[in-house]
């Protein structure tokens, strides 16, 4: 198989290494050798790092010891010291191999954000110093996860998945040919290999599929980073820092089509993967009067409380009572807050009772090929029925089917679907070669 990016010509590559790849001094040196090897192949390299291993957790623990509710500005100042340590050490290790490496904070690298401490959004990237370092033949090492607020000039952090987002944003601004995200797994798999031993590494997925996979529990890449890459049509290569194997490319459908047409890639399967998310809870609002405005009152109360509602189902009203049940899912950690919000708003909603159920799983099938293959739903539900798995809620997008099952059934559900769609590594993949869009 040919590579997705033509490495025969000199190109600019952004490489991002996470905390698990930078656990201690030895891993820092291993990563340094990898970076130097990439440069030795003739490429320009920009590196983005997270904090080493458990540094962030240790800093959070310290913060908790001095203050139960630390100000967000100060928490950002504290946490950004983590990348400062890892990037300086990595620069030292690279220098030790004879290359000129220079570390830059988010602020120095031009990561300009809004001032929402703890969850800042990138509003501009001005990597003048990075470009300058590249021109001088150096390897710039940039602190991930952090930036500087445009208005206050305070240090900010980007929140979860922030370092991946830094890498993609820098890659886009520098017009890199690819952003390599190094992690502790080989790439994106058709299912969690701990659940489905026959799961296989995907050669590629579309941005859209990756977004759906990230949303339904695949932990490899964070939503924001994929969204950013899609916006700039920037190829992401998710791969392991512990092996030299190719990982999974995240690309636009057009790039995949072209690669298939040019024989650089195999045909694309209809289905990319199956995932299960066991972190949601199901809340049922029992006995809601079946009148206009009641559902709106429920979801207004939840929105005001900042609850992230995922799936929603409303039963058909019982004619005898004129009442119905409304069921939704939300993160388990928000369930108590959700019921509080509903109790407070119970006057306007007028329900009879609330039932929380955290013994559920959301099982999802994702694949861009679904759009042009109407038989997918039939295969999906047949597979679950054959495995005697009860479906409690259903939700679909153009390229995803999700169902809620008992948490104890989740593993079997994933396995059944993985097999039914021919995703098992020794099975026969269901492929298609058309555009399907």
């Amino acid at each position: 198989m040919l590579s997705w990016v033509d490495f025969a010509v000199v190109s600019l590559i952004v490489q991002k290494f996470g905390g698990s790849s930078l656990a201690d001094a030895d891993s820092v040196k291993r990563v340094a050798r990898r970076i130097v090897a990439t440069k030795a192949e003739g490429h320009q390299v920009v590196v983005v790092v997270s904090a080493m291993g458990d540094t962030t957790d240790e800093l959070l623990d310290l913060a908790e010891q001095v203050s139960p509710k630390p100000p967000a500005r100060e928490l950002d100042m504290l946490l950004t010291s983590g990348e400062r340590i890892s990037m300086a050490l990595l620069a030292m290790a690279i220098s030790d191999l004879g290359e000129d490496a220079r570390s830059y904070t988010g602020s120095q690298a031009g990561l300009i954000t809004d001032s929402a401490h703890g969850a800042a959004r990138i509003i501009d990237v001005t990597p003048g110093r990075i470009a300058e370092a590249l021109n001088e033949g150096a390897i710039p090492i940039v602190a991930g996860f952090q930036g500087v607020a445009q208005d206050t000039k305070d240090i900010t952090t980007l929140g979860r998945g922030g370092s991946d987002t830094t890498a993609v944003a820098l890659a886009a601004a520098l017009e890199a040919s690819v952003c390599e995200i190094y992690t502790d797994v080989d790439g994106v798999f058709s299912a969690d290999p701990r659940v489905v031993p026959a799961a296989r590494k995907l050669e590629f997925v579309t941005y859209e599929e990756m977004l759906e996979l990230a949303a339904v529990g695949a932990k490899v890449l964070h939503l924001r980073c994929v969204e950013y890459a899609r916006r700039f049509d920037l190829p992401i290569h998710v791969r392991s820092s512990f092996s030299q194997r190719e990982g999974t490319y995240v690309l636009s459908p057009e790039a995949i089509e072209t690669a298939i047409a040019e024989g650089r890639a195999m045909e694309q399967p209809i289905i990319s993967g199956v995932a299960a998310d066991v972190n949601d809870a199901k809340v049922t609002v029992v006995g809601v009067p079946d009148e206009p405005g009641r559902a709106a009152a429920i979801f207004r109360a939840l929105a005001d409380a900042g609850i992230n509602v995922d799936m929603i189902v409303q039963n058909v009203s019982a004619a005898s009572t004129g009442r119905t049940d409304v069921t939704f899912t939300c993160p388990q950690g928000s369930a108590a807050k959700a019921t509080d919000a509903l109790e407070s708003g119970s006057g306007a909603i007028g329900f009879e009772s609330l039932v929380i159920d955290d013994q559920i799983a959301k099982v999802s099938l994702v694949g861009a090929g679904m759009r042009s293959h109407p038989g997918v739903s039939a295969t999906f539900f047949a597979a679950l029925a054959e495995a005697s798995i009860n479906v409690e809620m259903i939700s679909t997008s153009e390229i995803r089917i999700s169902v809620v099952t008992r948490v104890d059934d989740a593993k079997r559900a994933v396995q059944a679907l993985h097999t039914a769609f021919g995703l098992d590594a020794d099975g026969e993949a269901v492929v298609y070669g058309g555009t399907g869009r």
Copy 2:
């Protein structure tokens, strides 16, 4: 006794806390309470912090693990994460007490330096953001030890004693009424209390005396910070973060005169203190031809090798040989380098042999009153003679007498001098009230 600074009017106080005062979460909270108490008295407070406890050593250890010779730029980037952690935690602890605290890096606080990584010099202080925070009623917490290079915009560190220097430089730029240096001792003592139990805390010393004391082994304040304070005539108050007692003020002679004249201070003793430094070695260059240019060749060779030479003695030439011995002291850590440099230059110097002796101590008496009291030398040497202590080398300044003795005699020498000059806490102090300058 009245305080040196009039705390009845609102004033700006810079408080610097070192690593031993910020060892863990509990000490951070204790320091926070102290700062808030100062503000509650009606003052404006700017805080400067070092890294917590052993953080710097731990970071240096990490650096050593990844590279035997880390680039200075990257070492600075690494080490500056230490203050980032302590200042953010301290700001959190202060916020928890209900005050608005904001942490600032050296760069954000306007500490502009040259680009000599690891030992940068402050070339400008532009504390606009600090002044702004003060005007808004906040307590700014500034990272000590660090700045930003004017030309490269890279992060720099100021080297040893850097946080004290940051505090004094900020205090001068903000026209603070005093810079309080909090440490783990009660102030500057007339001798090391571990050597002389009767040593007493000095009420005040002049900048000049403090410089001499720092140069001869008193570890309380670093030379650079005292030099900076002298240049801007900024009062320093060295005190313990573990007690509420007044410490030692470092002031100009004029400020001390005024305080004495106004009855705000007791009269000043002739002698401030006695100190011993056991970290020097004595190198004797034996059999140097007694001709013009030979001594110059010796000290040129040493200077070229970067050796810091302290005391120098040349024996009277032996008429029979036309040769002489030249003896100098330098830090023990430099002695081997010194002999290497001399061996290399032996052709131009023409000596017979080299003798290194690291079993020496430098014992010093410091006091501004020495200038106007010619009897000091006589008392000094009489005290050593009575204690049967042999003097190997002598060097004097206007306000200091230093001698080299056997290292085993150092403790007795310090005790004898401390008693002879009436410095013992239960003894009678030798005082004077004149200007003496």
